[in-house]
């Protein structure tokens, strides 16, 4: 059956291992050849509270989660109370019968863990085994995933899993299909983004921890050795970006990552990158603001901020991926553009993209690579040589033939300070000339994702892609998503929106920042659907709102 579409919600309190449980489930199903998507919802605390993870699996590609779930796996009573209304008709509830009573199928997970003297955290493995059993998954498949993904304490987890599997009743209804097709890679948005930068030639990642960007730092810290990326956790975000820029000036592609508050601290250095023409990629994983806002939830509210961050006027690029494959590709493109044009490039992500698990092939073969206009060694080196396209050839300190002078001050072509009016204009013009090349390169069909040709169009950016694409397909709307937001791909969008009579914009912020940008470029927007409760659009949510929109 090709319409198999099954969602499981795992819920409990922080410290119950809900995230790991969801991840194991997602990988288990992905290895069956199913397509999965994982959404993780957790408050900003370490123990207690309410965490839940939704894993949707289907026989077709999925990029979003649904509100209605088919199986609810409750590690505590609160999960049942909170999510009962989201259950579909033919649903199943699995719960820990050692700790509470509820309608549904109880398995004594805590009891199993206690009997086997296993660590309390392995209760999540017990729950995983019950879910596997109730959907008819062979034990050996589960065991293989535990062996692969839980290299620590594998034996005790296997024991817990076996016992729980035995105590869970066989499937009452639907069982999980197995697909003979490809097993697609599973990646969190941040992991895909990290690998994209590596594919382009990244050598340095420097970041101060901040949710939801921290997992990029963790990933590089863990895999930096094999990926050839030196990973640094400095004293603050200010040091992070300047350290990365120092590395870039020595010829090494470097990237930093943070969220809005950390980016606020980096703005001083962003302006320096603009003046000194330093290639740098900044990943800004948005979360709800202002200020500390809601640290572990999602929002697309920093577009206006990144577009104009930094004093003075200088060219920049803002890219906004919407899924793992786009994150991979755009991270590589970001590094390529930063080096080709010697400018700061911003990758605008958010919690929903960063921390959701995608199941997609990455475009490994068509990845953009870092390259730059290199100094040919003739005549005396001028770091800021004035050229027709505004791009000066690069040499690096250590080259015996060149004296490389990089500067935050306005300067002449050698990099010596100047305050002469003609020099100021000449240099500003040189830097801004790069915009012409950037427009040519980025106002292109591949920088605006389009699907369908309806007269009603749904336009979104970033992580709203998943829910929007699915709803657009279902309702026969034209789907339009600019991947680049600066320079704004005006000509391409005009083509993409040709024949559209009714343009709807959906984004997760309170004022409609993309909608405003579209209107500023002369695209009339009929409706703006906004969600700003820190949660992403679900498929159902967006569908409901679109029905509310007059055709």
């Amino acid at each position: 059956m090709s319409n198999f579409d099954f969602s499981v919600l795992f819920g409990g309190k922080a410290g119950d291992g809900i995230r790991q449980l969801g991840q194991l489930w997602a990988r288990l199903l992905a290895r069956r050849g199913l397509r999965v998507f994982l959404y993780d919802d957790y408050p900003s605390l370490i123990r207690g509270g309410h965490n839940f993870t939704v894993v949707r699996a289907a026989e077709f590609p999925v990029l979003a989660h649904r509100e209605r779930v088919d199986l609810l796996v409750a590690l505590n009573a609160f999960t049942l109370e909170k999510h009962r209304r989201t259950l579909a008709e033919r649903n199943v509830v699995l719960f820990d019968s050692s700790t509470f009573e509820a309608p549904g199928i109880g398995v004594p997970w805590s009891g199993i863990v206690k009997d086997l003297s296993a660590p309390p955290i392995t209760r999540n493995t017990a729950a995983l085994a019950s879910a596997a059993r109730i959907l008819g998954l062979p034990f050996e498949e589960l065991a293989e995933t535990l062996r692969r993904d839980l290299p620590k304490a594998t034996e005790v987890n296997l024991e817990v899993a076996r016992k729980s599997y035995e105590l869970t009743p066989p499937p009452p209804g639907r069982t999980l299909p197995r697909s003979e097709g490809t097993v697609w890679p599973t990646l969190f948005g941040n992991e895909a983004l990290a690998l994209g930068a590596v594919a382009a030639g990244l050598r340095f990642y420097v970041a101060y921890p901040m949710t939801p960007a921290s997992s990029i730092l963790h990933y590089f810290a863990r895999h930096g050795e094999t990926l050839g990326v030196t990973t640094i956790h400095p004293e603050n975000e200010i040091a992070a970006i300047l350290c990365a820029m120092g590395a870039a000036c020595a010829g090494k592609p470097a990237m930093v990552g943070t969220s809005g508050g950390g980016f606020a601290l980096m703005v001083e250095a962003l302006s320096l990158a603009g003046q000194a023409e330093i290639p740098i990629v900044v990943v800004e994983c948005q979360r709800p603001g202002p200020s500390t806002g809601v640290p572990t939830y999602t929002m697309q509210a920093d577009l206006d901020f990144v577009l104009s961050a930094g004093h003075g006027e200088f060219p920049r690029v803002v890219l906004a991926p919407g899924d793992a494959a786009q994150a991979f590709h755009l991270a590589a493109l970001a590094l390529k553009l930063a080096w080709h044009y010697q400018i700061p490039v911003l990758l605008l992500s958010d919690k929903h993209l960063s921390e959701s698990l995608f199941n997609q092939e990455l475009p490994l073969v068509e990845v953009p690579r870092v390259s730059f206009k290199s100094w040919n060694g003739e005549r005396e080196y001028r770091r800021y040589a004035v050229t027709g396209d505004g791009i000066s050839p690069l040499a690096f300190p250590g080259d015996p033939r060149a004296v490389v002078k990089v500067t935050s001050y306005e300067h002449d072509s050698y990099g010596i300070t100047t305050e002469e009016p003609e020099d100021i204009v000449r240099m500003q013009d040189k830097r801004l000339r790069k915009v012409r090349g950037l427009r040519e390169e980025l106002d292109r069909p591949e920088m605006v994702a389009v699907e369908g040709d309806g007269e009603r169009a749904l336009c979104v950016w970033g992580s709203t892609r998943g829910a929007a694409l699915e709803v657009a397909r279902k309702l026969g709307l034209r789907y339009v998503q600019p991947l680049v937001l600066e320079p704004f791909p005006e000509t391409t969008l005009r083509k993409a929106l040709r024949g559209v009579r009714h343009l709807v914009v959906a984004e997760t912020n309170a004022t409609g920042q993309l909608a405003r940008r579209l209107e500023a470029h002369g695209f009339p927007v009929e409706e703006v659907l906004l969600r700003y409760d820190g949660r992403p659009f679900t498929v159902e949510d967006l569908e409901r709102r679109l029905y509310g929109v007059s055709p």
Binding site: A30, R31, W184, P185, T186, L187, E191, L195, V198, A199, R203, F204, H223, G224, E225, T226, L227, G228, V229, T230, T231, I232, P234, E235, N236, I238, A239, L242, C243, A244, M245, G246, A247, A248, C249, A250, G251, K252, A254, A269, L272, L362, L364, E380, F396, P397, G398, D399, P400, A402, V403, K405, V406, T407, S408, Y409, Y414, G415, I416, T417
Partner: protein, 284 residues
């Protein structure tokens, strides 16, 4: 036109705009003395000067060597990145006292804590020069500046003591009025493997002229001091607390020890990773 002046291969065509009598001239002379030796050894291309913002920072315009004219307080993270990316570089930071001890203080403490392999030279004149005379972290209590007309209510910071406490492996103080002595300090600092900190007493002729005071009180540290002895380095550092009252101001090397380098623990070898294999192993 050429970056280098015809007469002096270390000099650029930039016109020097420091006030006559500025302590920065003494520092420039000392730096040039050591750079000239590197030029003779054909190693000058390994040098990168990083400066902040302030009168001190103009030094990068006056020397025909690689440089990064950074922003206020941000000399050290830039220097750090350069050194991490290319360990063969000889990275020398220059900063003012407002720059190093005000805006950039966190970076300074961490640079010392990490033992980055850099030299950091502070042009310490205890006054903001380029912003026309406000008090700084090392101005004496009661200093009458444009932001403290009734006298600074704060006591000065003792950067030598601070750097010793932060774990710097080379701590020295020089005086711009003794460029020969300063050149020797810089020579030792550049040669040090690890974080070399040099606080240079640098009179500001226009806003805080301390030449007479320093000429009277500065005393070179003699061979009786053992620079490996932390306690006696600390004792020496506390002899003068930047109060502009003391009898004697020690200059020279306070402390010098060897510790493992940060970069050796952190830097990973460059490689072209096999992404397909990585995906297979960790993501499928």
């Amino acid at each position: 036109m050429s970056l280098r002046s015809e007469k002096d291969p270390l000099k650029t065509y930039a016109e020097i705009t420091w006030c006559p009598g500025c302590g920065n001239f003494g520092i420039l002379t000392a730096v040039k003395t050591v750079l000239k030796e590197l030029l003779v050894r054909d190693e000058l291309h390994r040098v990168v000067l990083v400066s902040g913002i302030g009168c001190h920072a103009k030094i990068v315009d006056y020397l025909a060597v690689n440089s990064f004219y950074s922003i206020h307080g941000r000399v050290l993270p830039v220097a750090w990145g350069l050194k991490m990316a290319r360990p063969e570089l000889l990275v020398i930071g220059h900063a003012g006292d407002g720059d190093a001890y005000g805006e950039g203080l966190a970076h300074l403490i961490f640079a010392a804590k990490r033992n980055l392999d850099l030299t950091f030279v502070v042009h310490n004149n205890s006054v903001y020069g380029l912003t026309t005379g406000q008090f700084t972290p090392t101005s004496p209590k009661g200093f009458k500046g444009r932001s403290t007309p009734k006298g600074s209510p704060e006591s000065p910071l003792n950067p030598v003591e601070l750097m010793l406490a932060s774990g710097a492996t080379f701590v020295a103080r020089g005086y711009a009025g003794r460029p020969r002595h300063l050149a020797e300090l810089l020579r030792q600092a550049f040669a040090h493997r690890g974080f070399a900190f040099v606080d240079v007493l640098q009179p500001c002729y226009t806003f805080f002229n301390t030449y007479d005071f320093y000429n009277k009180h500065v005393r070179e540290i003699g061979p009786e001091h053992d620079p490996k002895d932390f306690e006696s380095a600390m004792h020496l550092a506390r002899r003068w607390a930047y109060t502009y009252e003391a009898e004697e101001i020690p200059i020279g090397i306070f402390y010098r020890v060897s510790r493992p380098l940060y970069e050796e623990a952190v830097r990973v070898p460059e490689r072209e990773p096999d992404l397909a294999a990585h995906l297979e192993r960790h993501h499928r």
